[in-house]
């Protein structure tokens, strides 16, 4: 039986671990994400070169990888990662398109983030994790599918832990919902002490309320 060992949520500029606030950031997305980066004591200059979506995913995942490191988990070989979101890299696609539309040279540094799997890639690079990772795009998280993939990573691929995370950021021309983004919710799953993992419980972590 797999357990939910810990969870993080980043919503309304607040980053929390297991419901306890770790840090708070204010202002526009970039300023808010930068404030959270400083507040939780990250020291990773590459963070500033990432797009907002990758920064969001990196920040929400950070406390969980710190926990794993403290617990002596084999992050390099035995931690899987599943990232999800609803709008892919649309926010960065729009940013890339703006100079192109004006007939100017587009920024290569922006272009490299026009892929939705960059969040997962940056997390695994940051933490030196070589376990399996997957990026899924869907309108809403599918907890049954996520639990199936998680179970496969642990029982078939030998992972001790799997981190499952939803992160999404505004893509202004495409976003028709209420202005509640950016949001990230991440869950750490494994066999250690925690609460029993259920589809409903996982969905609650991955969904902005």
């Amino acid at each position: 039986m797999l357990n939910l060992l810990a969870s993080t949520r980043l919503t309304g500029g607040r980053l929390s671990l297991n419901g306890n606030e770790l840090a708070q950031g204010h202002g526009e997305d970039a300023a808010m994400l930068r404030a959270l980066y400083t507040a939780i004591g990250m020291d990773y200059p590459k963070f500033h070169k990432m797009d907002a979506y990758a920064r969001l995913a990196l920040l929400a995942a950070e406390p969980l990888y710190r926990m794993l490191r403290t617990d002596g988990a084999d992050i390099e070989n035995a931690v899987g990662l599943i990232t999800l979101n609803g709008s892919g890299s649309a926010a960065t696609d729009v940013e890339h398109w703006e100079p192109v539309r004006r007939g100017e040279l587009a920024s290569p540094a922006v272009f490299v983030y026009t892929l939705p799997n960059t969040g997962a890639g940056e997390i695994t690079i940051r933490h030196g994790a070589f376990g399996p990772s997957i990026c899924l795009i869907s309108e809403h998280p599918d907890p049954d599918l996520l639990l199936t993939i998680t179970d496969d990573m642990i029982t078939t691929q030998g992972m001790t832990h799997v981190i499952v995370g939803w992160s999404d950021i505004f893509a202004t021309p495409f976003w028709s919902g209420p202005p509640t983004l950016p949001f990230a919710g991440f869950a750490l799953i494994g066999h250690g002490a925690g609460t029993p993992l259920t589809p409903t419980g996982l969905q609650a972590i991955l969904t902005q309320h």
Binding site: H48, S107, A109
Partner: protein, 89 residues
Amino acid sequence: MDREELKRNLKEQIVKQLNLEEVKPESIADDAPLFGEGLGLDSIDALELIVLLDRHYGIKITDPKDGRTIFVSVNTMADHILAQLAAPK
């Protein structure tokens, strides 16, 4: 264009365009290597520098290999810009 002013502008533009949030423009030495042991820029940064020259100075680099001599340091970038601006159109 005054060479010293150009170098100051270049340092500010490099920090801004390359999102070097933890680097102060005035801390970049004129002859410090931009790649490797210096600022530690990478291949994407090299492409960003090509865009920087085009956007701010209207100078196009058609062969990225030319960047190896142009983007050695702020000094070499300034040399290239001044030479290009002085060249007959």
